[in-house]
Symmetry: C2
Subunit: 452 residues, 2 copies
């Protein structure tokens, strides 16, 4: 069966666009993945988003999927998915960008999220680059220096570097990432694509590298909010309150703007993006309100830092004992507790931030969504340093769902993202509102996500 | 080299007793494991604690360890360890007592805790039985019905059934378990051995089956408190305050007795054990004080139940989609949310219990330790039902370290344990005090842990 090729090259399609074509056979999975493989062949020598990819495996799986009768096709039938290389896949190696895990032999089990995706019909495509164990420190690249999808001289951000760059570069419609600080929001913002970190706990993390159980969260990269809706369905994300099915109306919407206590670190690109977003939304009839966080929230970044150190101390003991010479010095430092963090400090961080979570939920509830910076500014020059996580960390430790929205540009024409936030477990409501907002930002924000 | 066989059969030795013999070569690892294998051969046809054990693999590893020069021997040199079959081991299958995981092929990775144990010189001996995915429900035994080490007609408790029974039965000195409700305290109490669940988060859980990230905790079974001290060293558990090295003195000790709001469920065996413990400690000069928990703690069990349901909903989605016909109906019920738990209820549970944690820490701090029931009563008759977790659940959700102490017996001569509790991250202090208390209970509690 040959495909009725759609009007744009298949590799340009978003997940939400391609799925109906694949399901009905208007586009075969085989033709689609061939288009993606061509795009990868053309572009990845520069971007270097993939650490392991095997075209013969992809084509074989595509053939199997094409052979499925319509009634056996899952909701994600044929959807190719890039997997950050800290997530176990039974048919591909998992190497964590660590010199301790150089074996090419797969470990024969899938992470729970991969089981769900495969059972829904998705095509697990290959493994994408990550900083060592998804920690984001200067120079923790054992191998492969991924570059930004928009400028090869700039960082794609980390730690979900490869998934962010590959999705923004149209090498794949959807990528999996993990976020412990800002590892989804930053690559999404830097490369110019959407990123979605659901509520902490809403998706299983079994089979993911563990750095901080309190913080580690699975999430996604995509090129439309609708792509996340499809994934949210597959993972059965559900709010307590039924979310309206009609499109969100901007007129009369209540949008909060939250600069956070970290605002003094914001660069001009982020300052301008926040201001432009405010003007655009107001012009569309939205009601804008500045959200001031209570003084306690000023400590959130310190508490986040304490948890990274304290839980890193526990999480990396095994690898440290295996061979600490093969670990990045920052990880060795966690295990050796070079910062002399006390348990008292760790417990204070846990208990204090637990107190803030319901306070933030209540504060966010009256808003349709809250907008806040994703990053300090455009992706910086150079590939060694993946950038600063501080704009994203507080939302990670508050466990709230966040979505990186695109549409704005910085001084060098690089994308600048803004983060949409909502209360815990209102992921579906956030997706609905974010979709409405994203359409306006894409049209009027001044930055085009189009790739050549 | 032949061993200088110690005065009692090697299989009777505790970890703390055997380690110096193994380290110095007074007993070879090979002779020691042969003694354990003989004990297992004699006893396990009745107890059925092991789900996977391969003598040739054990003997090969023992030979390798015996060949190590003294300076290369780790702190756990040659220590045989039983592993609950929900923990990944690279050289043995991991089957979760699930019909979804019947493959005998190991998955080629070790859980982080196994990496640490092997790197410390331990000998990973075999896999022990568990209820399905470490959930403890009536009739969730896909295969193997383990019996109590002290009475084959009674349950060993669950879900860490095999490790608890094997350790109490002197088939192995140390076993790994996991606790989400009471899955270490209950088997330790029912079989009559010590059990130790450290502070939640103090040991990595990467590579363990995930049911509830908030609750799942790795822990140990042993036949002396000193065994846990050895393990605490290997896992680098450390309090903020330096713990005194001299033995704990009972005279003038301040011991709290906490019946909890669950006391009305206590059976006569537990009521008597608490009362005898009080008399014994008082006779030794300890100052006893009843600890009344504030009224909020009455809800802890409800919050615990909500977390089991809410996190089970997320954790088992992959397995459900793989083949829900092969899952126990209680697990299917979590994914289908048959109890109609709302996210609001789950978040209330999270937030409320987070508020209680520092309150309990403060309340416990003035005491050398707090004693509380481990179980309702003796191990009940029958093997299908592994018993009630409710005496242990609150401590699990409070994240505090707990140790099951032995020494008491119920109406049928079966062991009754009591739980020693301390504030979070005071594991070393708790071990020190528990050692002093355990010696008194062993001598004067009226129940002998001796096996034939």
């Amino acid at each position: 069966m040959s495909s009725q090729v759609p009007s744009k090259e298949p590799w340009r399609l978003t997940a939400a666009e391609v799925l109906p074509l694949l399901r009905t056979g208007q586009l075969t999975v085989t033709d689609y993945v061939k288009s993606l493989l061509e795009r990868i062949q053309a572009r990845d020598p520069v971007v270097k988003a993939w650490i392991w990819i095997e075209p013969s495996l992809i084509l074989q799986r595509a053939k199997e999927l094409d052979g499925l009768p319509a009634e056996q096709r899952g909701p994600l039938h044929g959807l190719p998915i890039a997997v950050k290389d800290v997530i176990l896949t039974k048919d591909m190696p998992t190497q964590y960008n660590s010199r301790l895990y150089e074996s090419e032999t797969p470990v024969a089990i899938d992470a729970n999220c991969i089981i769900t995706l495969r059972a829904s019909g998705a095509l697990i495509f290959g493994k994408t680059t990550t900083t060592e164990f998804a920690c984001s420190k200067q120079g923790d690249w054992h191998q492969n220096l991924t570059s930004n999808a928009r400028d090869p001289k700039r960082t794609p951000g980390g730690s979900s570097s490869g998934s962010g760059a590959a999705v923004a570069d149209c090498q794949i419609p959807v990528g999996l990432g993990t976020q412990t600080g800002g590892s989804i929001m930053r690559p999404a913002s830097f490369n110019g694509c959407y990123g979605f970190k659901p509520t902490h706990g809403a998706i299983s993390r079994e089979g993911l590298a563990q750095w901080s159980p309190l913080l580690d969260t699975l999430g996604f990269f995509g090129r439309s909010i609708d792509d996340f809706v499809v994934l949210a369905d597959a993972f059965r994300l559900k709010d307590d309150e039924v979310v309206a099915s009609e499109p969100f109306k901007m007129k009369g919407a209540k949008i909060g703007f939250c600069k956070t206590h970290n605002w003094p670190k914001a660069g001009q690109g982020t300052i301008d993006a926040m201001s432009e977003a405010r003007d655009i939304l107001r012009a569309h009839g939205a009601e804008i309100e500045e959200v001031e966080l209570p003084e306690d929230f000023a400590h959130a970044l310190d508490w986040h830092a304490a948890v990274l150190v304290g839980e890193g101390h526990t999480s990396f003991l095994g690898q440290y004992l295996l061979d600490k010479e093969k670990l990045h010095e920052s990880i060795v430092g966690y295990v050796d507790n070079t910062r002399q963090l006390t348990h008292r400090q760790l417990l204070d961080a846990y208990d204090n931030v637990a107190r803030l979570r319901p306070i933030f939920d209540d504060l966010a509830k009256p808003f349709d969504l809250i907008l806040t910076p994703s990053v300090l500014d455009e992706a910086p020059l150079g590939l060694e340093n993946t950038g600063d996580m501080s704009m994203a960390s507080m939302w990670t430790i508050l466990h709230v769902p966040v979505i990186n929205l695109t549409g704005f540009a910085g001084a060098h024409g690089m994308p600048i993202g803004l983060t949409a936030v909502g209360p815990r477990y209102t992921d579906r409501r956030l997706l609905r509102v974010a979709k409405g907002v994203s359409e306006v930002f894409e049209r009027e924000g001044g930055w085009s996500g189009a790739v050549r």
